[in-house]
């Protein structure tokens, strides 16, 4: 229960190098993130308002953006639930093959996304192993928005598992025991004691999985089928516009994606900051 206090600007601090590290951070952030994104915004601004609105309001663009963000939200939510479960099992139980599963979790990080996309497509296609089972039940996965969600879930899973796992591992067992001695059953202990403690880490994992899903391209385009208005994602649309040498339209879609993604991540960060304060984690 040690609470560290972040040094405020200009306040003398025992942690050395605050000025230097802050300077470096700002420089680094500018070079790697802000300048390229700034260029994008400038470019979009150069379009002029009415042209930008026409391009941004294009129905095909809107459909692609809607699919991208809804599918990403769905995938990140699925990952939040199942990633938490996987992390729980990995930390709390010792079973044969635990190390193997542990290693498999990281595969979506390492695999070229195209490989993942092709593998998923062949599994979920109507004649694939899983697709063949689902098809008679009336559930089509490949070449539909569901396929998009499947691919995005695949690439996002490690983020949740890997952010929740260390926090869960460090969670004090005594706190759960205290809850039990106070009469709380297992379910009450998990929902009232364990989950609130994991919430900040879970939100971080959620944000990372979401961010990754929004930007994902390689694994999706194979399984999605890329039917305009149905299963075409925004990053793909940008590439299509670029290939048509329609830089203005590409820029408009990109700027819209940037704005929405930024707002979503900002919202998650705010919730997180609130929950950290609320739940007494070191600010």
């Amino acid at each position: 229960m040690v609470s560290a206090v972040l040094p405020k600007l200009k306040e003398p601090s025992v942690i050395p190098g605050f000025g230097t590290t802050l300077g470096f951070t700002l420089f680094y952030l500018s070079a790697i993130v802000l300048i390229p994104l700034g260029a994008l915004v400038l470019r979009a601004a150069g379009l002029g308002l009415s042209e930008f609105l026409t391009l941004a309001g294009d129905p095909r663009t809107l459909a692609a953006l809607k699919l991208s963000f809804l599918a990403s939200l769905a995938a990140a939510s699925i990952n939040a639930v199942f990633g938490l479960l996987v992390a729980w099992v990995l930390v709390r139980y010792d079973f044969f093959g635990r190390r193997l599963i542990d290693a498999i979790i990281d595969l979506p990080f390492a695999l070229p996304t195209a490989v993942a996309g092709i593998a998923l497509t062949s599994l979920y296609a109507p004649n694939g192993w899983i697709g063949g089972v689902l098809e008679p039940l009336g559930l089509k996965v490949a070449y539909t928005p569901i396929g998009v969600v499947v691919a995005l879930t695949f690439v996002g899973l490690p983020f949740v598992v890997r952010t929740v796992e260390p926090v869960l591992r460090d969670l004090d067992r005594e706190v759960e025991e205290a809850s039990a001695t106070l009469g709380a059953g297992r379910l009450a202990t998990v929902t009232r004691v364990v989950l609130p403690a994991l919430l900040p880490a879970l939100l971080t994992g959620y944000a990372l999985a979401l961010a990754r899903a929004i930007g994902e391209y390689g694994s999706v385009i194979f399984i999605a089928g890329n039917i305009p208005y149905v299963s075409e994602i925004a990053p793909l649309l940008i590439v299509i516009r670029l290939e048509e040498y329609n830089y203005a339209a590409a820029t408009a879609v990109a700027a819209e994606m940037l704005a929405i993604a930024f707002l979503m991540l900002l919202a998650i960060n705010l919730i997180q900051a609130y929950s950290r304060r609320r739940f007494g984690h070191a600010a």
């Binding site: 229960m1 609470s3 004090d172 005594e174 706190v175 025991e177 205290a178 809850s179 039990a180 001695t181 106070l182 009469g183 709380a184 059953g185 009450a188 009232r192 004691v193 609130p196 403690a197 609320r278 739940f279 007494g280 984690h281 070191a282």
Partner: protein
């Protein structure tokens, strides 16, 4: 609620942490479990709480066999050494947790829960911290909140694992007195673990001395200090020195010199003689006295401690003399044992 522990054994991966421990705790008693690190104190406490299950043996709460019950059903108040407060809950939420998680049928009304929590805050003398989070409290305050949380469920027994272990000396002293008073007022059967013997002696009605998964002695602080049942208890409790002696028909010999008929009823042969620093007096009469060379002299509160090296083996023992004597002995001195304790050497 009286507690009866019967021939309790606990093994961790075949390592015996408890070896047939039996203990009777009377209703309303305050009992200390005292022993060196690794002696099984925490294990015993956790078994009583139901946080651990025995390899064999049983635990009775009053007439009922508690060994069959889960930790939730046992209704014990457990205070952890590092408090284990819920850090995402305010103090008041921490304290009311045990009442709020009850099934709808047993749960008091919201108003009753709030009332109980604020009464407990008064009891622990922290009425103004209700809405703080645990990390905004000092160690001593957290400890008291942990205690209030345990008391909220009206436990049948209160179990505390090194309740003051992580606090500084002054706060410890205050909390000790406070807990003793609280115990007198509320009358909970209480078992607490400590490895601070002063704490055990000062606070408890009876002390349980443990070593290597066994109980060495159970008794009042006086009994433990004045009539230790084993060499372990003698050397573990208080300061003591030990001399190797031989017994011949009740007479004690140190390096062939008689110390007098101190060992009546004890078997002949080699024996261990235990002495406390206050059990020796400076004397001029060499008959029946221990003589040794003064090694060091140290000031120890109101006394001076003289360490002497005795006999051929230069066995070291400590003697306490009043500091007011202003007397700094040198060379060889003789001491007469006023009291001592002998155990056959094995």
């Amino acid at each position: 609620m009286d507690i009866s522990v019967r021939r309790l054994c606990k093994e961790f991966d075949r390592y015996p942490a408890l070896n047939g421990v039996s203990l009777e705790v009377g209703s309303g008693e305050l009992i200390a479990l005292l022993g060196p690190s690794g002696s099984g104190k925490t294990t015993l406490l956790r078994l009583i709480a139901g946080l651990e299950f025995p390899t064999s043996g049983s635990i009775y709460f009053g007439k009922e066999d508690a060994s069959q019950k889960s930790v939730q059903e046992r209704n014990v108040g457990f205070v952890f050494q590092h408090y284990a407060l819920f850090r995402h809950m305010t103090v008041i939420d921490n304290i009311s947790f045990g009442l709020r998680v009850r099934g709808r049928r047993n749960r008091p009304s919201d108003a009753a829960i709030r009332k109980r929590a604020s009464d407990l805050l008064d009891l622990i003398q922290l009425p103004n911290v209700a809405n703080r989070f645990p990390h905004q409290l000092s160690g001593g305050q957290r400890q008291r909140v942990a205690l209030a949380r345990a008391l909220a469920i009206e436990p049948r027994v209160l179990l505390l694992d090194e309740p003051f272990g992580a606090l500084d000396a002054k706060v410890r002293k205050e909390l000790r007195r406070w807990l003793r008073e609280l115990h007198e007022r509320t009358g909970h059967t209480t078992i607490f673990v400590t490895h601070d013997q002063e704490e055990a002696m000062e606070m408890s009605d009876r002390v349980v001395v443990m070593s290597q998964g066994r109980i060495e002695q159970v008794g009042t602080p006086d009994e433990i200090y004045d009539r230790p049942a084993s060499p372990f208890v003698f050397s573990f409790i208080g300061d003591s020195g030990e001399l190797a002696v031989t017994i011949d028909r009740g007479e004690v010999f140190l390096d062939g010199r008689s110390l007098g008929p101190l060992a009546e009823g004890l078997p002949d042969g080699r024996a261990r003689m235990f002495l406390r620093p206050h059990d020796l007096e400076i004397t001029d009469d060499p008959a029946g006295a221990i003589s040794g060379e003064v090694a060091t002299v140290r000031r120890h509160a109101a006394t001076r401690r003289i360490e002497i090296a005795v006999g051929e083996k230069r066995q070291r023992i400590e003697v306490a003399v009043p500091a007011t004597r202003g007397f700094v002995p040198e060379g060889t001195q003789t001491f007469r044992p006023v009291r001592c304790r002998l155990f056959p050497a094995n």
